[in-house]
Symmetry: C2
Subunit: 140 residues, 2 copies
């Protein structure tokens, strides 16, 4: 297999890709160690919205810097994309906003959820992996 071409995404394109999928991975620090959890999200006004359940390690990340990653990389062709957002995880406190997010962001597992977190992207990075044949003639 030929190697893939890596192209950096700009912020707008990266956030569009993130908004087009339903889940990713929250990256945070737990007991001073790197930690990661798959989780579902929605994008609202450019921010990443997630929910955490009572007792979740993730709750220790409130008011700390976290990363949020989503990707869609084909395991066979190794083409696709990855987007990484970095920002501070804040607890959403407005009751109307919480109600709205709870309605559109359903937990996969039947846990008692107790917080809605908002990550405003301070840094957004992302790339696409392509096979480099776009625009080439078939005989090339």
């Amino acid at each position: 297999m030929n190697t893939r071409h890596l192209t950096q995404l700009d912020r707008d394109d990266a956030l569009k890709l993130l908004a087009g999928v339903g889940f990713g991975r929250i990256v945070f620090t737990e007991h001073a160690l790197p930690a990661i959890r798959p989780i579902n999200h929605v994008i609202d006004d450019g921010d990443v919205i997630i929910r955490s359940h009572a007792g979740a390690a993730l709750n220790s990340s409130v008011n700390t810097v976290v990363a949020y990653e989503a990707d869609d990389i084909d395991p066979l062709t190794h083409t696709g994309w990855s987007v990484i957002v970095t920002g501070i995880a804040r607890a959403v406190t407005d009751p109307d906003a919480i109600t709205r997010y709870e309605r559109i962001l359903r937990p996969w597992v039947d846990h008692a959820m107790d917080r809605v977190l908002r990550i405003h992207p301070e840094f957004v990075t992302g790339f696409t992996l392509t096979d480099g044949t776009e625009g080439r003639l078939p005989a090339e």
Copy 2:
């Protein structure tokens, strides 16, 4: 959609799932901030083997604790699995081992790769998400 059933995996089953896929995400600390990169891996003797290229932020993680995550979660049904390994990233220094890993672990992108890293799992966690209908009669 019904909620999913989350079942914890034991270490052996988790490592088997990890060995059955070709890529995951390395989680480390970069300038004291949580960082994550998609990367391909092989599992060798229970350790996660990855490669990093010259200048990669990942190189700062050598001899530090990192997490490595892989998952396969269906975006529509929300069934699947996730496995997370935590351990210290060590540079592989044995020339024969480096040659062997370089042969079986091909970078996706045509970067000059300069290190092979081995993560020996100190902690292994994982879960499966199922729809909870296994073993039920169709009419149930």
